[in-house]
Amino acid sequence: MKPFAYVRATSLQEAAAAYASHPGSRYIGGGTNLVDLMKHDVETPDTLIDLTRLPLHDIRELPTGGLRVEAGVSNTDLAVHPLVRTRYPALSQALLAGASGQLRNVATTGGNLLQRTRCPYFQDVSKPCNKREPGTGCAARDGVHRDHAVLGHSEHCIATHPSDMAVALAALDAEIELYDGEHGTRRVAAAGFHRLPGEHPERDTVLRPGEIVTAVLLPPPAPGAVSLYRKARDRASYAFALASVAAVLALHDGRVRHVALAFGGLAHRPWRATTAEERLTGAVPTDEAVREAVDAELAAARPLPDNAFKVALARNLARDAVATLVRSAPGAPPARPQP
């Protein structure tokens, strides 16, 4: 690990100013991803700006009925919060499906959003990787890529974004609040926060250099909406998603009034399934209708030689998730008698 200076920021202004004067800096939240990458020399900051002592540890209900989650809130505290569990179960479930108890105690909301890909070549400085070092090539394409993307990848990078939480936030129409010393505060939709790789896989998100994630804003849940998170992985716990889905559903008179589906583990960002959502909105959510909608979404998949299994996995997860929500949503059609 390279030596670095350390700044314990006590205000957002101070943190942003420290970054502005040392562009080789990195912010540190819980450090569970950054310290790991520093040990691999993938990250080599000359200064660490510690955000954990900023007063950003609150979860507050908003007058609109939504929720404001500050960036320093730990993954544990967010997952177990009674309002999150009751109003945004998909978010609580996504967090609890990620990492381990001891990691979630330390990991922060801001750091979770900004964690880097788990592509093994990204983590190995002896290998070519366009994300780590633009222009060097992509070792994964002809290498081990079973865990890599099937949607939205480019010739430059086929990595996936590893966060479970971000997938739930995309489906819940959350917004991310950002601060920078020069422009002040702005908000971006969680579903548009992470990027597709295109020609610039080195940019994971739309964050500008030096910008700080200050909060996640959850809108009030759609009336009658239910939500859940499903994750498929190689072992039952403590593993990243091969594929996952966050689903939100509200019914009215047996028809879909609101639906949101986001896939994890399939792309460089949480994948909002807008094609499937359009097909399902207003429809009676029969197994047939759900299957067609999900298949239409996944028709865009371009799997690599070793990860075609992810398409079927995602399809099954999504169908099962929507079917489960249809059964539990208020306004569901009465269960059909068994033949």
Partner: protein, 211 residues
């Protein structure tokens, strides 16, 4: 505090030309009830500070990347992987390691005793991390924290303890790997403590003892 000058972690690095400030810091830590003030290279993890500077070698280094749990300690009462925490970020924190679980007279904590009673280890390398993690598991369940396997219909009431079934224990301890496969004994030991309602006897913040 033992002086270990031969330890490279101890040697101060000159700031590289690019570094915009000192690359070492003064860090105050309370560990198992004792206060320590250390001058540390900013790169030193909590795990290395414990093992190499404070001679507390109970916490183990398995992977050094957050993947095995052998380094688990309690930081301000919560379990955490000490290999991924930079000591400099923990100034003024309260740390409890496996060495701090027993009573000052050496009497084992109920969890430690249960690990003996239930054959919860073979080589013992993962045991300090398992013990500290299990203290966290018992506290989290007592505080009503759900886990991945807790039913979504469980009451979202932080005052209602979660009952630790075998499935719950396996899920909640999944961040602690055991190469010897002593999982059954570990789960039984934790279940015995959960059932006995003796969460843990980790020292509550004690009056300061100056090292």
């Amino acid at each position: 505090m033992a002086a270990r000058e031969r330890n490279p972690l101890r040697q101060q690095q000159a700031a590289p030309p690019s570094a915009p400030g000192p690359v070492h810091s003064r860090v105050a830590l309370r560990v198992n009830g004792r206060s320590h003030v250390l001058d540390l290279d900013n790169r030193v993890t909590l795990l290395d500070a414990l093992r190499e500077r404070l001679d507390l070698t109970g916490s183990k280094k398995g992977c050094d990347h957050g993947q095995c749990g052998a380094c688990t300690v309690l930081v301000d009462g919560r379990r955490a992987n000490s290999c991924l925490l930079l000591a400099v970020t923990l100034d003024d924190s309260e740390i409890v390691t496996v060495e701090g679980l027993a009573a000052p007279d050496g009497a084992l904590s109920p969890l430690q005793q249960a690990f003996l009673d239930h054959d919860a280890f073979q080589c013992g390398y993962c045991t300090p991390g398992q013990l500290c993690s299990a203290v966290g598991v018992l506290r989290e369940a007592a505080a009503g924290h759900p886990s991945h396997v807790t039913g979504a219909d469980a009451p979202a009431d932080t005052a209602r303890p979660v009952v630790l079934s075998a499935e719950e224990i396996a899920e909640r301890l999944s961040g602690n790997l055991c190469r010897c496969g002593a999982y059954n004994g570990i789960a039984e030991a934790v279940a015995a403590c959960a059932a006995a309602g003796t969460p843990d006897r980790t020292p509550p913040p004690t009056p300061d003892v100056i090292a």
